[in-house]
């Protein structure tokens, strides 16, 4: 199906080599983290539910390259990649996935609630479509504080069918809030294909209903994502209001680790992985342009694997939270002050 195309200015072309390589490095670090997390979950080291971002790394990398530390993002249940790209530490993330005390949420959030507020990553979310209005609120607060901060809300194709989508988009549009809504259309909402559940051919088309701009790009091409995000985030920062950026991608892994994936064929998945891997595509481009060679790519991947291994060791060596801490952080005050509050 054709979709609304716009030739965005080629901001990528102006990037110095090291910044271009940094886009790849972020993708490689996410891939290394997710690949190891999958193994660790299957080895029963990581509890809870885990949703992997493998195959979608170009979106987080290409968008986050335009954000400052004090810009906010809201994420989804598939949030590890967003956290890494926004600047969260891999060791504390791994500790959180393990449920350890040294994790970002002191072991009480886990994979579905990975967050690092100190870098503006306002949290993965266990409720699909739960992040839109939190991002809208971050946009409102930028207005109140009179800053040029922006907020980016990542959401899936399935989440675009929530009612929260409508309320958030409408409010952000009428108030011209500095929020970019980045759709990661990975073709699957759990076991349901986008085409089955979503009335719009492209989720970006829904922007028309809110009188805002909406564009669809190849989400597995980091250069396309980077250029589109550059223009739309810049516009939001300058007060021109929100937009939808739909990034077409494909969920290489099951909905969750352990998903038997009876709803699609192995051939379909393999085809996407071999023909459309964003890391293979971008590294091939960088090699063609003479910015990267095989040795450089291997060194980058090896460094990422080492970083993840160090994070894993940190997680393994960290203690679990004490029983006495079970009710900590429910409020700004200690539960001891108000024993009734936690009953």
């Amino acid at each position: 199906m054709p979709f609304q195309k716009r030739e965005f200015p080629n901001a990528f072309a102006n990037l110095p080599k090291e910044k271009a390589l940094a886009l790849l490095e972020t993708m490689v670090r996410i891939r290394a983290f997710e690949s190891r997390v999958e193994e660790l979950f299957l080895n029963r080291k990581i509890p809870g539910f885990v949703h992997l971002y493998i195959g979608e790394e170009a979106i987080a990398s290409g968008v986050m390259a335009h954000l400052n530390k004090d810009d906010s993002i809201t994420s989804t249940h598939r949030g590890h990649g967003h956290a890494i790209a926004k600047g969260a530490r891999i060791d504390r993330m791994m500790a959180e996935l393990y449920g350890k005390k040294t994790g970002y949420c002191k072991g009480k959030g886990g994979s579905m609630h990975i967050a690092d507020f100190s870098v503006g990553m306002l949290g993965a979310n266990g409720v699909v479509g739960g992040g839109y209005n939190i991002a809208v609120g971050a946009g409102i607060s930028a207005r109140i504080k009179k800053t040029d901060q922006v907020a980016v809300c990542f959401f899936g194709d399935g989440a675009s069918n929530r009612g929260t989508f409508h309320e958030a988009l409408n409010l952000a549009a009428v108030w011209k809030l500095p929020v970019l809504f980045v759709n990661e259309n990975n073709q699957w909402a759990s076991t349901t294909p986008t085409s089955f559940a979503t009335s719009a051919v492209h989720i970006a088309d829904r922007a028309k209903g809110y009188g805002i701009e909406g564009y669809t790009v190849d989400g597995n091409n980091v250069i396309e994502v980077y250029n589109a995000a550059s223009a739309l985030i810049e516009a939001a920062r300058k007060g021109k209001g929100p937009a939808i950026l739909e990034c077409l991608t494909y969920r290489i892994k099951g909905h969750y680790v352990g998903d038997p994936e009876r709803y699609r064929t192995k051939e379909e998945v393999q085809k996407h992985f071999t023909e459309n891997d964003p890391i293979i595509r971008f590294s091939a481009y960088l090699k063609e342009k003479g910015m990267l060679d095989d040795a450089g790519l291997e060194a980058m991947k090896a460094a990422a694997v080492r970083e993840v291994a160090a994070g894993e060791k940190f997680a393994e060596d960290s203690p679990y939270p004490d029983k006495e801490e079970a009710l900590d952080d429910l409020f700004s005050f200690s539960p001891k002050e108000f024993p009734e509050v936690v009953r």
Binding site: S72, T74, G103, Y104, C105, K106, G107, K108, G109, H113, A115, D116, F117, S118, L122, G123, N125, G126, V127, G130, Y132, N133, I134, A135, V136, G137, A138, G139, I140, S141, A142, R143, I144, K145, Q149, A151, G163, T164, E167, A168, N170, L171, V174, D328, D329, L330, F331, S332, F333, E337, F338, P339, E340, V341, V342
Partner: protein
């Protein structure tokens, strides 16, 4: 002492807190153009400009955005128009706001207030008359307060705005036009503390919101029959000030819980069971 209405008392609380802290802002449906259904926001737009705004009819956006704003350094007050409409934003209140601090390991304060006019008034039927505190009593992570007079309305609202946790502020619609004494000088009503409105020795009545005045009137009647009634105004429903309740019931050995909300699964059952425990 001067007397002002409950509505004016909440307005003064908003004015004082918005003057005190430029990060405090308020938004809700029909609060600018209409001044609130009960006039409780009149005059704020002239003084505070964009820090008070009308919003689209979008309760999930109003409440969800309050969380995002609170996490990023401001102190939002979200007005629900009618407490009944909290149900529209139930995920935002229960799964997003209430769980945020705990689930994320205390990474941020959540200084937000949800103002929720509740209770029976003017034969407004079943979707505009509820007392919905029972819905939220079961949710860890929330503070719930409900004033019973102009003075407690002002003091509790000011405390709620300064609290670094999410506070649901239930304000009974029948109370808005009622007048009562409110000190001129600044004061705060503490969250988490019940008030003994009238001491007595034969029976304890535990109540809150609109029912406080009704229970006080009933207590006066009972005094004529020689029954000494102690009336406790909870003021904060979550966390319950069980110490004040238990001290009273230890003295009177009898306890009656009075509220306007439905009988089952609510504060009455909660207080009765805790008093017995």
């Amino acid at each position: 002492m001067r007397t002002i209405t409950f509505s004016q008392a909440t307005l003064e609380a908003m004015q004082e807190e918005m003057r005190r802290d430029p990060m405090v802002f308020v938004y809700g449906e029909d609060i600018v153009r209409q001044g609130g259904i009960f006039g409780q926001f009149k005059g704020l737009p002239e003084e505070f400009g964009d820090r008070i705004r009308d919003v689209p009819i979008s309760e999930t956006a109003i409440v969800g955005a309050a969380l995002g704003a609170a996490l990023t350094g401001t102190r939002p007050v979200a007005d629900m128009h009618f407490a009944d409409f909290i149900s529209v934003a139930f995920d935002e209140v229960v799964n997003q706001i209430a769980k945020n601090r705990y689930m994320f390991g205390g990474q941020a304060n959540i200084p937000l207030v949800i103002r929720a006019p509740d209770g029976i008034s003017n034969q407004a039927a079943a979707q505009h008359s509820q007392s919905v505190e029972g819905w939220l009593q079961n949710v860890p992570g929330l503070i719930i307060v409900t004033p019973s007079s102009p003075a407690t309305a002002k003091g509790l609202l000011k405390s709620a705005i300064r609290q670094n946790d999410p506070v649901i502020f239930f304000e009974h619609k029948v109370l808005y036009p009622q007048k009562g004494p409110v000190p001129e000088e600044e004061f705060l009503t503490p969250i988490g503390k019940a008030e003994v409105r009238k001491p007595g020795k034969d029976v304890t009545i535990v109540t809150y919101s609109i029912m406080v005045q009704k229970c006080e009137a009933a207590a006066m009647e009972l005094e004529k029959e020689g029954i000494s009634v102690e009336v406790i105004d909870l003021l904060t429903l979550k966390p319950l000030d069980m110490q004040t309740l238990v001290d009273s019931v230890k003295k009177t050995h009898r306890c009656v819980v009075v509220h306007e909300a439905v009988v089952t699964g609510g504060l009455g059952a909660e207080i009765a069971s805790q008093c017995c425990a």
